[in-house]
Symmetry: C2
Subunit: 154 residues, 2 copies
């Protein structure tokens, strides 16, 4: 994948947990609820149909407000790569104004799992908005929450 | 799949050719070139990587003008369902202004293959534009070209 600095945001971290456990966390609702949004925000509901084109619908609670985000999985390579987006709803219904496509990549590394998050956007403006909204802090916090939670499953 | 009359266009036809041959035509460049655009327009080049997220890039020639259309496959169920779109380029790079997502469905029926084409759009405006551009005539002509060509392969 060749990144485009105008429209893509990406970072990598080493997480001290095995790849298979990280995968499990990212693909099962009961685990997703434990790390998917920076605390004290939380996930009210999470509906996952883990197949290409299957739904990945979440409702997060931000300071008492419910925020729905409906999407689908685009690509599923167990223990390696998960791609999802809000550009479609289940049944390949295109969203009017999608925000991003997220690519989670996992690889073995000394000390655990090399965890790479990439967010791809339709425009430089959307990318900048996501960056200004706190992409690196937010997804970084989520990565550390994921690591801590994954360690409880080992 | 629940269709939305505001944003989706769809029709079904029976094609007098086996499902497996129709599938072969839709997934191999040398066959796609034979039916994919209404004649006398033609396909100058066709680059297919038949996997989820793989490229489906075509260049068509319309009255001497080359028109590129780069996209990807979203879902591949051999002999049954092919979904592709211009909403992404290879590597899940979102397109700035995608036009549509196409769903080709094949089923056995008396006399051959029940062939269903659905085009889903992001907005009612895009759907209307596609309809006014001649969706039913154009894709209907393509279906008959496909049928004739498929019969030469039996």
């Amino acid at each position: 994948m060749i990144l485009d600095p105008e429209t893509d945001l990406s970072f990598s971290l080493t997480l001290n947990a095995p790849r298979a456990v990280i995968w499990q966390c990212w693909t099962q609702p009961q685990h997703l609820k434990e790390f998917f949004v920076p605390k004290p925000h939380f996930i009210e509901s999470c509906d996952v149909d883990l197949r290409v084109g299957g739904r990945f619908n979440t409702v997060m609670n931000v300071e008492g407000n419910s925020m729905s985000n409906d999407g689908v999985f685009l690509e599923i390579v167990p223990d390696e790569k998960l791609v999802f987006t809000d550009a479609y709803q289940e049944g390949w219904k295109p969203a009017a104004d999608p925000f991003m496509t997220a690519i989670i990549e996992l690889a073995d590394t000394d000390g655990g799992t090399l965890y790479t998050v990439t967010a791809r956007h339709r425009s430089a403006e959307a990318c900048k908005a996501h960056k200004d909204m706190g992409f690196f802090d937010g997804w970084g916090t989520v990565a550390r929450q994921l690591e801590s939670y994954a360690q409880t499953l080992i």
